[in-house]
C-alpha cells in the first residue's frame, strides 16, 4: 500500500469522524508541534508517531519529530529510573542523580526546540523542559509507563522536572500521581494499516508458520510480549499445561528481538527450562517481528496476555483488532480494553487463565462473539485516528483551558 492518508481511515471510522479531524486541525494551523523521543525508531511510541506525525502534516499542522541520541551514561541511568518508575526494585546512588543533572546539560546542547507545543516521551530527556522559555512553548509529558507504584526516591527526583510541564498524559487512570499539573487520559493506539495489523493472506501466514516450524493442526495459544519478568510467561506455561489435560493444543510465546534489555537472556533461560522437552511449547525470538507477530496473532485460537504488570498493553489491542478471543490479566490498561465476557475475558490467576482459555477453545460461538465485540471496541476507541483527535484536543486545551470550550 502506498502513502496512507487521512481519507484511508474513512472505511473504519466513517466520513464524519474524518471531517471532525479536519475541523479540529483547522484551528491549529498556525502551530508547530514538536515530538521529542530518545528511543530508536522502533517500539510502540515510534510506531504511533510514524503515523501521527505525517497525518498532522497532511491536515495542515506543522509537526516535527526529533529523536535525540542520549549519551551512553545517561541512557544507563535513565534505564534505572525507567525501571524504578515502573515499580521494579532498583539500586540508586546520589552519584546517579547528580550525573543525570550533569548529563542533561549535554542533551540541552543537542536539542533544538522549534515547537509551539513540545511533546516529550522519554525519561532521559525530561529535563529538556528547562528550555521552554527559549521559545515560549507549551510542554506536555507523555508517560506510557505504569506509574502506580514508582520508586519513591526516583519519583521525588523526577517530579521536580515533571511539574515544570504544562500537562501530563497517562495511558490509564490507575497511573495517576499527585502532581501540580493536569493529567489527561490519552490511551495509545494501533494503526490498522501497519505491518503488524493489516490483514494477511493465507500464504503470508503459512510462510511465517513454516519459518518457525509451527503446525496448523493444533489450536494455537499465543502470548506476544517482551521476555521480561513482568509478562508472566511462567504463568502462561502453567495455564497451558492445565488446558492441555483436556484440549490438545500448542503454546507460542513470542517476542521481537529486544535491544538493551539485560533480563531477556535470563528470562529465556528460565522459560526454556520450564518448557522442558514439550514439543508443543514454542519460545520464539523473532526478527523482523512485525509481520511475524501479525501472522501468529491471526493464526491464534486464543491470545493470552497474563502479565503481572503492564502499561497499556498494545499487544492486547492488536489481538482484539484481529477479532481474536483474548484472555488477559486484570492489570494496567487491560481492563480498560476488555469488558469481561463481552469483548474478552479477564483473569487473576493461572487457573483462571486456564479456565478461560478452555471456555474459548470449547465454545466457538463465544470465541466469535468476544472477537467481534473486541474488534468493534478497538475501532471505536483505540485506532490512531482517536489518538490523533485526542492530541489535537489537548493542543487546543493548552490555548483554551476550560471545561466547555466553544469554538464556533
Amino acid at each position: 500500500m502506498g502513502t496512507i492518508t487521512i481519507g484511508h481511515y474513512e472505511k473504519f471510522i466513517g466520513r464524519n469522524a474524518v471531517d471532525e479531524l479536519k475541523i479540529l486541525a483547522s484551528r491549529l494551523k498556525t502551530s508547530t508541534i514538536q515530538f521529542i523521543t530518545t528511543t530508536e525508531q522502533s517500539g510502540s511510541i515510534a510506531e504511533t508517531l510514524s503515523r501521527i506525525v505525517p497525518l498532522l502534516n497532511e491536515l495542515g499542522i506543522k509537526a516535527l519529530w526529533e529523536a535525540i541520541e542520549p549519551d551512553h551514561d545517561l541512557t544507563a541511568i535513565a534505564k534505572v529510573f525507567h525501571d524504578g518508575l515502573r515499580g521494579s526494585a532498583v539500586h540508586t546512588t546520589t552519584d546517579m542523580f547528580q550525573k543525570f543533572m550533569a548529563l542533561d546539560d549535554d542533551m540541552m546542547r543537542k536539542a533544538s526546540i522549534k515547537g509551539d507545543i513540545v511533546l516529550m516521551y522519554d525519561v532521559p530527556a525530561l529535563a529538556l523542559v528547562h528550555k521552554r522559555h527559549e521559545h515560549e512553548s507549551k510542554w506536555v509529558w507523555n508517560c506510557h509507563l505504569d506509574l502506580s507504584k514508582p520508586d519513591p526516591e526516583i519519583w521525588h527526583f523526577l517530579k521536580g522536572f515533571i511539574e515544570e510541564y504544562d500537562t501530563a498524559c497517562l495511558v490509564a487512570p490507575a497511573f495517576f500521581q499527585k502532581i501540580q499539573i493536569p493529567q489527561f487520559f490519552i490511551p495509545p493506539s494501533i494503526d490498522p494499516f501497519s505491518e503488524k495489523n493489516r490483514p494477511l493472506s493465507q500464504t503470508e501466514i503459512t510462510t511465517v508458520l513454516k519459518k518457525y516450524g509451527l503446525s496448523r493442526k493444533k489450536p494455537m495459544i499465543v502470548q506476544i510480549g517482551r521476555f521480561d519478568h513482568f509478562k508472566g510467561h511462567e504463568g502462561v506455561i502453567e495455564a497451558y499445561r492445565m488446558v492441555k489435560r483436556y484440549n490438545d493444543c500448542q503454546l507460542v510465546l513470542a517476542s521481537g528481538k529486544g535491544k538493551g534489555d539485560p533480563d531477556v537472556d535470563e528470562v529465556l533461560g528460565e522459560l526454556r527450562e520450564k518448557a522442558g522437552d514439550d514439543p508443543d511449547i514454542h519460545i520464539l525470538v523473532m526478527d523482523p517481528a512485525d509481520i511475524d507477530v501479525n501472522a501468529l496473532q491471526q493464526n491464534a485460537a486464543v491470545i493470552v496476555q497474563k502479565s503481572v504488570k503492564e502499561g497499556f498493553a498494545l499487544t492486547v489491542t492488536e489481538a482484539l483488532w484481529k477479532a481474536k478471543p483474548v484472555v488477559a490479566s486484570l492489570v494496567g490498561g487491560m481492563p480498560l480494553q476488555i469488558t469481561h465476557n463481552y469483548s474478552g475475558l479477564l483473569c487473576r490467576t493461572d487457573v483462571g487463565c486456564a479456565t478461560n482459555i478452555r471456555r474459548v477453545l470449547n465454545n466457538p460461538g463465544l470465541a466469535k462473539k468476544l472477537g467481534r465485540n473486541g474488534r468493534e471496541a478497538v475501532k471505536k476507541n483505540f485506532l490512531s485516528t482517536r489518538q490523533l483527535k485526542d492530541y489535537m484536543l489537548l493542543f487546543l486545551y493548552l490555548y483554551y483551558p476550560g471545561e466547555v470550550i466553544s469554538l464556533y
Binding site: 487512570p173 490507575a174 486484570l330
Partner: protein
C-alpha cells in the same frame, strides 16, 4: 407536506462536540467512597460518568444508563442497587446538580438499610473519577426547513447528536434539547417539538436515537 418545507425564522446550525478526558486522581473502592466522592467531584465529572459512557460503551447501553450503575453491578456485584441506579430517569433532570442529588439519595438510602459489610472492588477495578473537557465546533451542516433538518440529521455524526440532545440540555443548562427548541421557536411546530422532547435518549444507542428522531420527524 407543506410542513416539511416551511422556512424557519432562524437556520439551525449543527455543531459537534469532542471530548478530552482529565483524570481527577479520585478512586472509590466501596460504596462509602463512592458516595463521598460523588458529593465532592465537579459537575463535569458527574456529567462524564452519566453521559460519556453512552458514547464510549454504547454497545452495552441501554442495560446501564450510567457508569456508576455499571460499576456497582458488575464490579461490586450489588445487582439490586445497580438496577436502582440504572433506573434513575435522567430525562427528568434539568441540571447536573439535580442528577448528583438523586445519585446520592439512592446510594445513601441503600447504605442506611444495610446490616451486612460493604463489598470492596478488586485491585485494578476501582471506580476512577474523571471529568470531561468539551470542545464545541461548527460543522458544515445547517437547516432552513424541516426537510433540510431531517436530511442533515441522517448525515451528522453521533457526536453532533450527542451535543444537541444531551450536552446542550444539561451541561449548558438549557433545560430542553436544541432540536425541540428550534422546531418550536423557529418553525413554530410546538406539538412536534414536544414529541421530540419526549423521546428517551438514555434507552437508545446513539444510532438508535438518530433513527427514532428521524422517524418521529418524518411522521410529523
Amino acid at each position: 407536506m407543506l410542513k416539511l418545507y416551511k422556512k424557519a425564522k432562524e437556520p439551525f446550525y449543527f455543531c459537534t462536540r469532542l471530548n478530552l478526558s482529565e483524570l481527577l486522581g479520585v478512586r472509590a473502592r466501596n460504596l462509602t467512597d463512592l458516595i463521598n466522592m460523588i458529593k465532592a467531584v465537579p459537575d463535569s465529572s458527574i456529567f462524564y460518568h452519566t453521559h460519556m459512557f453512552l458514547e464510549q460503551k454504547q454497545d452495552i447501553i441501554p442495560e446501564h444508563t450510567n457508569e456508576f450503575a455499571y460499576w456497582v453491578s458488575h464490579v461490586l456485584g450489588e445487582h439490586v442497587l445497580g438496577e436502582e441506579l440504572a433506573s434513575i430517569d435522567l430525562v427528568e433532570f434539568k441540571s447536573i446538580r439535580a442528577i448528583r442529588e438523586k445519585l446520592i439519595m439512592v446510594l445513601e438510602h441503600n447504605l442506611f438499610d444495610r446490616t451486612d459489610s460493604l463489598r470492596v472492588a478488586a485491585r485494578g477495578m476501582e471506580f476512577e473519577f474523571m471529568k470531561s473537557h468539551s470542545f464545541i465546533l461548527p460543522t458544515k451542516y445547517s437547516a432552513n426547513s424541516l426537510f433540510d433538518f431531517i436530511r442533515a440529521l441522517k448525515e451528522v455524526s453521533v457526536n453532533t447528536l450527542y451535543f444537541h440532545f444531551f450536552e446542550s440540555r444539561l451541561r449548558l443548562e438549557k433545560g430542553i434539547n436544541d432540536f425541540s427548541c428550534w422546531i418550536d421557536m423557529s418553525l413554530g411546530f410546538a406539538e412536534l417539538a414536544e414529541k421530540v422532547a419526549s423521546i428517551d435518549p438514555y434507552t437508545h444507542t446513539l444510532e438508535g436515537l438518530r433513527h427514532s428522531l428521524v422517524r418521529t420527524l418524518e411522521k410529523g
